[in-house]
């Protein structure tokens, strides 16, 4: 989801209890002035639950996020429905979030409201939300609607990685420019047996974003060095951090060329990092073996899943 294209972010402003009606009106204005498109349902007279339900659902489908103001009152709206209209909206937003991956829910309990006496049913509702916050759900207690909207806009406009020259591959092979010669030898052998993409890191180009995105699109990442121990020892942790660390899915094979005595040292160790010190000749083979093991293990897991 990108919101940088000038297209307005559409916000579903949920129904709320009567005591925050003025605040809701202010928030609607602030959201508009912040360049956001506000979608809210002004309840016609005599609307019944079924009509409301379908209308609200349609509106939610057209928005990128929803905003729910929590007041001190519960305020049931439909006589035959035991929950408040605000809670109905919130539940609908939750259901919508399950379907729409990038959908965000912003809950705002204004700091003032939090200090007042809250109706017990509403307090239960607030507690329920507070204790069940999920990813892409924000629970804010700013005093000012402006501060709240600043947060909202900043989160909804957060830069998402843009695709660069990134493509799916089996092996992503990285080395420093000063190790070009031995690295090229490995690459030449490797490219005949696996699908491989390489990157020669030098001081001229800042390739961090590309490195991270390309690793995510690769089955196995390889960082190789011969002379550039110092560089590699700094490069790998930064990359590891950038692409997700222990929670990432692509392992990094961190290979030191054993031909240099100084390389017989402890390399960076972390989940998803496989440090190896290998003789130059067996490095391509080892990469292939590791890739095969990985593919076989993945296939086993897929099989298990089935």
């Amino acid at each position: 989801m990108s919101h940088d294209s000038g297209i307005k972010i559409s916000v579903f402003l949920s129904q709320s209890s009567d005591d925050v009606e003025n605040l809701k009106s202010d928030l609607e204005t602030v959201l508009s002035r912040a360049g956001l498109e506000v979608v809210t349902l002004h309840l016609p007279e005599n609307v019944n639950f079924a009509q409301y339900d379908s209308h609200a659902e349609a509106l939610l489908n057209s928005t990128a996020c929803s905003v729910h103001i929590l007041g001190t009152e519960y305020n049931k709206h439909f006589p035959d429905i035991p929950v408040s209209i605000a809670e109905i909206d919130f539940q609908k937003a939750l259901q919508h979030k399950d379907k729409a991956e990038d959908f965000h829910i912003f809950v705002w309990l204004p700091a003032d409201a939090g200090k007042k006496n809250i109706e017990s049913q509403q307090a239960g509702f607030i507690k329920k939300i507070r204790n069940s916050i999920q990813p892409n759900m924000i629970f804010s207690n700013h005093e000012s609607p402006v501060a709240f909207v600043e947060d909202l806009r900043s989160i909804m406009q957060a830069d998402k990685p843009l695709a660069e020259d990134v493509e799916k591959t089996d092996v992503f092979f990285m080395y420093h420019e000063l190790d070009e010669q031995p690295a090229e030898e490995i690459y030449k052998i490797l490219k005949d047996v696996v699908k491989v993409k390489f990157l020669k890191v030098n001081q001229e180009v800042n390739a961090e974003k590309f490195v991270i995105e390309q690793i995510q699109q690769s089955k196995l990442a390889v960082v190789y060095f011969e002379q550039m121990l110092h560089w590699a020892m700094n490069f790998v942790p930064q990359v590891w951090k950038g692409y997700g660390g222990a929670s990432a899915t692509t392992p990094i094979l961190f290979i030191a060329d054993a031909s240099i005595p100084a390389n017989h040292t402890t390399l960076f160790e972390a989940p998803n990092i496989i440090p190896l010190t290998l003789g130059h000749e067996i490095i391509p083979l080892e990469i292939k073996v590791k890739l095969d093991q990985l593919l076989s293990s993945n296939s086993l897991h897929h099989h298990d899943d089935e």
Binding site: A123, I133, Q203, A270
Partner: protein
Amino acid sequence: MSKALAPYPGLRPFTEEEAIYFKGREVHVKHIIKQLEEKRIVVVTGASGDGKSSLIYAGVIPQARAGFFRSKYSNWLIADFRPERNPLGNLAASVAQNLQLDVEYTHKELSFGFASLINLFKQSDYYINENEPEWKNADEKQRKKRKLKAANLLILADQFEEIFTNSENYSNGRPSNAAYVMVNSLLESARLAQREGIPLYVIITMRSDYISQCVAFKNLPEVIAASNFFVPRLKRDELTQVIEEPAKLAGGSVSRRLVELLINNLQEGFDRLPVLQHALNQLWKLAGYGKEQIDLIHLAKLAGISPSLLPDADKVEFDAWFYNLEEFKKAYYETPSVDNVLNTHANILYVSAYEYMVKHFDWASKTISPFESLQVIKTAFQSLTKIDAGRSVRNRMTLIEIYQIINNPKISIEDVGAILTVFRLPESTFVRPFVNPADISTEYLSPNATLDITHEALIRNWKLLQDWNEEEENNVSVLNDFNVQLQRWIAHHKSKDFLLSLGPLMVFGEWYERAKPNKYWLAKYNTEDISFQEKIERSELLANDIAEFLAESKEYLAYQERQKKRRRILLMASSVFIIILLSILTYWANLQRNEAEQQSVIAKEQSILAEQEKNKAVAANKIAEQERQIARKNAEDAIYAKMLSDTARAMAEQNRLKAETNFRIAQEKTLLASQEAEKARREKMLADSLRVIAEYQQKLALTASDSASKLSYLSLAQTLALKSQSVFEDNQVNLLLALQSYTFNKNYGGNLSDPVIYNALRKAYALIATDGIVNLTYDFPLDALEYSPNEYLVVYANGFIQKLSVKDGKTNIISSHKTNQLINSAFILNAYYLIYSAENKNLVYFSVKDGQKRELNILPDYARATLMYNNSLWIGGRNQKLSEFQINNPSNSPSNEISFGGRITEMVFAEHINTAFIGLNNGELYKLPFSSLQAQKMATHKQRITSMVYNPIKKTLVVGYSNGYIRFFDDNGNQISEFLTGKNSADMLSVNSSGERIAIGLSNNHVRVYNFANMTESPLVINDLKQKIVQLKFTDQDQLVALSWDRTIRKWNISPSVYANLIQNKISRNLTPTEWNTYVGKNIPYQTAK
């Protein structure tokens, strides 16, 4: 990655090693790198606690080393330093170490400023001069070798504000030469590097509140204007990354609800990041170093959130944990907040420091008492902070300096070091140098070890330290006032005229006792531009002067007091002497006068001689007069002396009054303090009350939550009850669903007589059991039914009478009697006797037992209601009369007769008041006490009375009407209430043996069973009968028996629990999980019925 590496560093900044966990600041790092690439220098400014150092050490430097900073070479030299008290020296040491140069040589070179630093770099092996022939002539291999060695140089002046906070560097608005040269070197190096394309970069980090002081350095303001990076406040999504990402990278996780709570609860302003990082560090440990997801309960255990905000299950766990918590810690949980985590942690360390020392350090002498250990910590932290322009800031100090300020010969320096160790442990890191767990020797502090508070966030968030600093600030303020007086005294050659008077002496004397200012403490606040050693020397002189000034002032005041006393005594003695002398002179003058008189007499006699003597007397008189004048003057002196004495007394009195005033002020302060204490107590009471209210509200919330859960289960019970009445292939499903609906209804507090559940159970049971129905064999119209346990007496309209027994669901005919054709109603007296109207128009009194009958010659068509009383048969009917017939002495003529204004339709008897109640077809209702046989009208309603029953337990008459009304009357005949059953006539009424339930048979063939005490409750409704109800009656076993024109006798239990038990015995299996999911619901935990 070190296994011991925590993803959150706590109060200290991130190190380069911890860069892998430094998240949420990527955009800032990129901005700084971009600025460096373009301008070669960046001044990173920001508020205290904004993470400037972390941004460079864990952000910029690792990115540079990883190759994500475009520069000339692949390697990086990082020459970082802090100005401290020796800015040029520290810069030189760091540059020398990185370029592998001699320190003294480097220092000397750098002292020339300008291009000195860049020249040193250019001359080193780390720089390649591509214009040199050596490079130009080198082959590829040689060049690669040079390139592998070459490195970019990054100069980092961290915490640049130390230039301004140390008087050695900056005093009275002027920088020291060393500071000036250091700044010049940095600025010039950056300028030349940019101009010549040399890979040298400069980063300065500084607190933004010192920017204005930078004008003291030429060009620095301009550089700041052009190359400043002001560290932005973290946005919400960046804060989210700061919290969530490190745990994820380390294989753990933080719950979303905790993330939101932490962000919402962080105070605005200073210290957001260090306070947050400290809390996260503690949370990570508490959650088993990533084994558990970090959640609200962990924060609650750190006093960071009120337990009332915890989910119910967590609250239970917390309460159990809190119960076992050491008592002294519990107080810290009274004001939970994210900020309080740091405060609580520091307090706990403060209290437990002594115990830690005793347990862990054999090398400590431990001569210190627990109380003294607290004093040591207080003084140490006061020493490690100082007041700078009204702000409390960090103040680095060596252990020995702290020890000297403590100045207690009983305490050893080892003990001071040992006591402070808890604040240096890896799990606290409040004070540097930190203890390295891998090196036990780091626990021990050498006397010259420099201690430093890790972050000023501790100063601002540890409330105890704030109090100590306030006290320290007060001491410094008094010192400054005192010093003014002291210097004036010294400037006047220590003249007595400039010693302290009594009031100031008392104030400063009290301060001296309290602050005990020794030379080390005084040196801390010496702002002169001199070396530390000089400061110590001067402070020693100052300390001596202070002591001397106070002692001299005290001594001089004592001397003045003594002098005053002596003068008073002298004056008194002089006065006494003068008075005595005056008296003597007066006496002598009198003697002289007497003598003169005598001489005058003699003079008369001897005139010449007398004249001579007279002259003598006059002369003597003159002398006497002179003496008197002297005496008077002396007396005046005495009075003056007395005035002086009085003045002294007045002054003393004033002083006394002043003392009294002070005493009163003290008393008032005490009173105020006690009022404050009282106020605090009240506030605590209020807080307690609020807590109680909060707890109550929480309970209410819980109750509401329980209610919601109950309601949903009750609703489910209703649904299941209805589902159970559907048609299933296997009627076991009907039974199981009905039983489950009963179970839910019962377990979740539903109405135990709920009609829907009741019908579900009853109908389900009817599917498999027939023991509630007797099908009558004769196809004759029915007229009456009598019931006794296991026996029925059935009267058919054709005069046929059957006695049936029902056992194990089977019906057997016990006896049959054929009587005359009935032409009207039969009235059952009991199981053995009945009355009926025979076809011969006589009324027949018939014994079922022996088949004997006795005919009474009465027109039968008027018989409608009967009553047996004292062997009399009372019969009422269409003739509008109630007639008495004697059973034992039968006669066709009634022995008694009472007339009414309408046909008698119903009659019941209330035994305890010996009274019959009689209902008429015109709606009139009478009571007839048999004692008087005087009928009294009770009520008139215009509808026909169709049924009556008397409830002997409730002592209430119930009357049913043709329009569906039921009315209730007391024994006095007063109507208590009325109830409308609907539009159908209430044809039958029956009350059970306990008087609690009343059954109504309606003209639409329905039977309803109500709670007698509350007719508004939903009744049980039985609609099994297909035709008119002939008879409806409760058995003694609370079963309801009905006879219907559909030729069935039906018997019903009126309690759902009875049916539930019956069904329980009849079910042969449980619902399968699939059936459960289909009929009950996937979200409802599976239960078995059997």
